[in-house]
Subunit: 116 residues, 2 copies
């Protein structure tokens, strides 16, 4: 068993046109022995967003803190802490922090996808 806290893991900072105000890290991945799926944590500043894109793997997301909106099915879907989001493979999606607090979510992907 491994136990770590995401707050103690070094983050990668993303701040460009596609991804704004994002800190992200892998918390459970191949290096830990996870062979089937990978857990990452994303922190999104107020006003920040992930890229709008699609890819041939799914996301399973759990919102730990804050609130925001997720683009999917052609509309923006509001969510808050405690929400679970399923993004099927090949569906265009994006997440933005529309609140005033930090948005923190866990995002899982199958192991065939790039970990971060």
């Amino acid at each position: 068993m491994q136990v770590k806290n995401y707050s103690e893991i070094e983050k990668t900072h993303f701040d460009n046109e596609a991804m704004k105000g994002i800190e992200a890290c892998v918390v459970i991945g191949k290096k830990d022995g996870a062979e089937n799926f990978c857990m990452r944590v994303f922190e999104v500043e107020p006003g920040g967003h992930t890229p709008k894109h699609a890819h041939d793997w799914e996301h399973e997301i759990f919102v730990h803190s804050g609130e925001g909106e997720a683009y999917g099915n052609g509309v923006w879907n509001p969510f808050k802490a405690g929400a679970a989001l399923f993004v099927p493979a090949n569906e265009e999606h994006q997440i933005r922090n529309s609140g005033s607090q930090l948005l923190t979510f866990v995002c899982l992907i199958p192991s065939k996808a790039p970990e971060l």
Copy 2:
């Protein structure tokens, strides 16, 4: 895309010698189209615990609220909200709520395992 909040999903209650003070639900599973891994949410009352057991699939756990201890590697490992726990396949494990608040965690399993 599907968006739901775990607080709105009907829970299964477990209260026996092996599992004490537990409410659990599947938030993203096969019914939602998730073919590779499954997300469940567990709420554990203060003093409650999951079963001590082992099985041939892994867990990836994220602690949403509260605090507790996880049995693994032969010892009890303390954790609190924000912790990520990786339990490899076939390792004996158990989680207990050693705090005074509700312990809520997300637990992911590969699709070959029973969803709940």
